[in-house]
């Protein structure tokens, strides 16, 4: 029932267009993550969905109903803010029940709902504390509880974990995903829109991820697709760590490309992935994990000078200079024999399955035909 649809959604601030007519469909019960660098208008989009920001153009539909002109309270949404935004003068109990008290629900019902939510989030012992007596993680759980108690059709999360330390963030990540699954199992509508700039959060939490840049949607897909079939250089560079290596090259034929005065052979299988021949130059994208150390002077591999080595335990990061361009290769520790040292020449062979070709002009991926 609680499908969320955005149709040609636009937002202008004066003469500046922050959101350029985006279209997005979020299915009922889906966990959708909006991710992008700061300034990509993901928060603005979320605030428009919440009704905190006026829509310049386009439509927002929740459960099929047009909500453009509805107040935030009438949209059937609830929101968790980055700074928690707990009411500082109210105890946790009152914070949780504020929305219900505004609606003048019977006190027995309020009591019951408060207890249910607090046991779900394990915040029962905190009910009689003031927000300033809570730690960051506790405050965050109370904020989630306040959103939960409304039984909204759509949950909105605005970078809720960015104020927590790394360890707590990891545990809250699991907790929120768990909660989403549990609500789904309890047959409560739990469509989630989750805004973050952290790709780890996006990749681990989202059913689908919407990557945004400069007020436009770059790609909407599930995490695996996003990683293995990025639609353009932006998505390819944004998702994955360390970042994908990009080399400017030219197209030599369907089975090989040329970059930094070297020919990289990609094999017949690769040729079939190409959707037409690119007119101009291409950008070759290879994830660090898709590079292997090859034997010296192997034809069709990339020759480079080893600049720096980082030993990470189960894998090794090799920083290799290929001409003026530095790329990173991540190889399993086992396959790295420690023979190669700084300033040695190494040969890297890319796994053709992990190589992407992008049109240099448009940045679009042209190797997704299969």
């Amino acid at each position: 029932m609680a499908r969320l649809q955005l149709r040609n959604l636009e937002k202008d601030y004066g003469s500046f267009r922050a959101v350029h007519g985006i279209n997005l469909d979020v299915e009922d019960g889906e966990f959708m993550v909006l991710v992008g660098p700061s300034g990509c208008a993901k928060s603005t989009t979320l605030r428009m969905i919440a009704g905190l920001e006026r829509v310049t153009g386009g439509e927002i539909r929740i459960g099929g109903e047009l909500v453009n002109d509805k107040t935030p309270g009438d949209r059937g949404i609830s929101m968790v803010f980055q700074n928690y935004a707990l009411y500082p003068h109210m105890k946790v109990r009152k914070n949780l029940s504020f929305s219900m008290r505004l609606k003048r629900r019977p006190s027995a019902e309020i009591e019951q709902a408060t207890n249910h939510v607090s046991s779900l989030l394990e915040i029962d012992p905190l009910l009689d504390r003031l927000p300033k007596q809570l730690s960051g993680g506790q405050a965050q759980r109370v904020a989630v509880g306040r959103a939960l108690i409304k039984k909204p059709q759509v949950f909105l999360f605005d970078e809720p974990l960015s104020n927590l330390d790394a360890k707590l963030r990891a545990s809250m990540r699991v907790r929120i995903t768990d909660l989403h699954k549990r609500l789904k199992a309890e047959n409560q509508q739990a469509t989630v829109i989750y805004v973050t700039h952290d790709q780890t959060e996006a990749m681990t939490m989202g059913d689908r991820i919407c990557v945004m840049k400069d007020g436009r949607i770059m790609q909407v897909a599930d995490p695996v697709t996003l990683y293995s079939r990025p639609a353009n250089t932006f998505v390819a560079g944004f998702i994955g760590s360390p970042e994908m290596n990009f080399l400017d090259g030219t197209f030599e034929g369907p089975e090989s490309v040329r970059a930094a005065d070297q020919t990289i052979s990609l094999g017949a299988d690769f040729a079939r992935r190409l959707s037409g021949e690119p007119s101009g130059g291409v950008t070759i994208g290879i994830r660090p994990q898709h590079l292997r150390i090859a034997a010296a002077e192997t034809p069709g591999t990339l020759k480079g000078k080893l600049n720096h080595i980082e030993f990470m335990g189960h894998e090794v990061y090799l920083y290799v200079d290929i001409g003026p361009k530095r790329i990173i290769a991540v190889v399993p520790s086992a396959s790295y024999d420690r023979g190669a040292l700084r300033d040695d020449w190494v040969w890297l062979s890319p796994d053709p399955k992990g190589v992407h070709l992008f049109d240099r002009q448009s940045g679009e991926n042209i190797s997704l035909a299969l």
Partner: protein, 302 residues
């Protein structure tokens, strides 16, 4: 080996001890000097007040013969006779009159200034900048300039010799200073909590009452306190608009006992001055904690 090192170090440790005790002594001396100076200056500033209280217990003749503040023959005469006043009304009437001016004025100020400040701080409306500039301009305008036009307006409304000219401007957020103060305070409060309240389903007014006002409380208490004290001390306002003695507030009543025919009974004037100071002082001390309290913490802890 360890012993060796320790014994080598001990002269140094001794030196450190000496230096430390010297430091402590210096600190103590500093503190004594500081407090002595502060006490002296504080006494100097408080002396008129102390003298006032002392003199209120003196007889009228002793006030002029004995320059010290300690009364030789303490008497409550000034209080008893001063309270009766030379008018048909006791000083109690004037106290009640003052409260009857002050309390509605303070309440009106608190409500109207909060609403106006909320509007300026949180909403965009056409002409906002011009209106805010006008507000600040009235802040810079000397009061004297507006006295005569205001008087004419209130005369035409038939409000003279009533408390309306004292109440109404404040109840319509006429005190630009307070509006400005609250606007500045509100600007420092993050909007998140209000947005959360709106998402929770609160209307604009509910947000104002349940969320903004509690957050604004420290500033609001300061506003009430200022308004209370300034109104208590206001002499010119009542002097211009109030003409019948039965409506006089304390500030005018004190003056009243000065120009009666029965010579200047200074001890009565002083005794009543002491009494009229009491409410303002009491309120200030009661609200001191909030007055000094800064913005409510906790809402934005990381």
């Amino acid at each position: 080996m360890t012993d060796h090192i320790l014994s080598q170090n001990s002269p140094a440790a001794h030196d450190i001890d000496i230096a430390r005790s010297r430091e402590t002594r210096r600190h103590r001396l500093n503190a004594v000097l500081r407090y002595a100076l502060l006490t002296a200056v504080g006494l100097l500033m408080l002396y008129p007040l102390i003298w006032l209280i002392g003199a209120s217990f003196k007889t009228n003749s002793e006030i002029f013969s004995n320059p010290g503040f300690w009364p030789e023959n303490p008497t409550l005469d000034g209080y008893i006779k001063g309270w009766k006043t030379s008018t048909p009304y006791s000083f109690g009437t004037f106290f009640l009159n003052t409260l009857w001016i002050v309390i509605p004025k303070v309440i009106g100020t608190a409500i109207s200034c909060t609403a106006v400040a909320y509007g300026f701080a949180r909403f965009d409306f056409p002409g906002k900048k011009i209106l805010f500039a006008a507000l600040i301009a009235t802040l810079l305008l000397p009061n004297v300039v507006t006295r005569i036009p205001q008087y004419l307006i209130f005369r035409d409304l038939g409000w003279l010799d009533s408390y309306l000219p004292l109440w109404v401007p404040s109840a319509l957020a006429g005190d630009a200073f307070f509006v400005f103060m609250l606007v500045q305070f509100l600007r420092a409060i993050p909007r998140d909590m209000e947005e959360a309240a709106r998402v929770d389903g609160a209307t604009t007014w509910q947000t104002l009452i349940f969320i903004v006002v509690p957050l604004l409380m420290p500033a609001l208490i300061s506003v009430c306190l200022f308004q209370f004290m300034w109104t208590m001390n206001d002499f010119l306002g009542p002097l211009i608009y109030i003409s019948s003695v039965d409506k006089y507030p304390i500030s005018l009543a004190l003056k009243l006992s000065i120009d009666t025919t029965e010579a200047f009974e200074w001890n009565r004037v002083l005794a009543m001055s002491v009494l009229s100071l009491a409410p303002a002082l009491a309120v200030f001390f009661l609200a001191q904690k909030y007055f000094i309290d800064g913005i409510s913490s906790g809402g934005i802890k990381g």
